[in-house]
């Protein structure tokens, strides 16, 4: 994982309270990490603040896995 992805994984691992190394692109945010609606709100806010990006409502609705977030960040 490069430095860019590392920042994304740091945000996710801190929120989900899991080790960064355990996060894989196919890891599901809800089923595997227990990120429910209130936590999803924090995840989006934390991602925007930490990575200095803006995530639209349409983009947010499509985020289901760790890989989806990495892809989104790469596209910014």
């Amino acid at each position: 994982m490069d430095d860019k992805n590392d920042k994304v994984l740091a945000v996710i691992s801190q929120l989900a309270n899991v080790e960064k190394d355990t996060l894989k692109p196919e890891t599901e945010l809800v089923a595997n990490l227990g990120i429910d609606s209130p936590k999803a709100l924090q995840l989006l806010v934390d991602l925007e603040e930490t990575l200095d990006i803006e995530i639209t409502d349409e983009e947010a609705a499509k985020l289901e896995t760790v890989g989806d977030i990495l892809e989104l960040y790469a596209s910014k």
Binding site: P38, A40, L41, Q42, V45, D57
Partner: protein, 228 residues
């Protein structure tokens, strides 16, 4: 977001009727803020999250413009994406509130994100109904606590009791004060939730919001009975 012109005419008409009815009815009542009135004077500069139980919304739709917006408080409310929500949104706009559409069920995260932006970028206070939009009654959901944590804005619990009232047969047993009733309003103490709160601290914050709202309601009821 909150565009009145996109609301169908029938819904706008219903909201107009409801708005007039609420204002006319509440105008006959005597309101007394029995606790926390001075707190309201310091809110315009520092946004807060007002929290009220869902069944208090009829009265607070009149209370908000008269006692909050008149103090220079910029106030936003969330309204669900349903037809009922459209009426609520239209009613909120008539009362001078900024309306954010969304709910905990459909587009909940979206609605709360919009709320978050409104609070952070526009220094807008918000009024949220922690047991809405479908209950169970008097059970606070996590959204309010999470919004407090992320924005750093304190939660201000607010409740009231009417001397005499009707109770609608809805899930929340909506309260409509009867004409010429005395109404006691209680503004509770600030509840802050730290930005680094973990799951347990967040749950404690949610529970504190729930009990503070029940305590505010009980205190208002005591004031109506003349104990306070």
């Amino acid at each position: 977001m909150g565009d009145e012109s996109k609301t169908p005419f029938k819904l706008r008409f219903y909201s107009f009727l409801l708005h007039c009815l609420a204002r006319a009815l509440i105008a006959t009542c005597r309101t007394r803020i029995v606790a926390g009135e001075k707190r309201l004077d310091r809110i315009a500069e520092n946004p807060v999250i007002f929290a009220a139980w869902h069944n208090r919304i009829f009265y607070f739709s009149v209370f908000a413009p008269k006692y909050l917006i008149s103090r220079g408080i910029k106030l936003a409310m969330m309204s669900s994406l349903s037809k009922d929500g459209a009426i609520g949104a239209s009613l909120g706009q008539r009362s001078g509130l900024r309306v954010v559409r969304g709910s905990a069920h459909r587009g909940g995260t979206e609605g709360f994100r919009r709320f978050y932006r409104v609070m952070k970028k526009e220094s807008c206070s918000t009024i949220l109904l922690p047991d809405g939009s479908r209950g169970p009654i008097y059970k606070a959901k996590m959204g309010v606590a999470m919004l407090a944590k992320l924005t750093g804005a304190p939660v201000v619990p607010i409740s009231y009791q009417a001397e005499r009232c009707w109770r609608v047969r809805s899930w929340d047993r909506l309260i409509i004060p009867k004409p010429f009733s005395r109404i006691a309003v209680v503004v509770g103490d600030d509840l802050a939730i730290e930005r680094d709160a973990d799951d347990e601290a967040l749950e404690r914050g949610r529970a504190r919001i729930e009990s503070a709202l029940n305590e505010a309601g009980a205190r208002a009821a005591e004031a109506i009975k003349g104990k306070n």
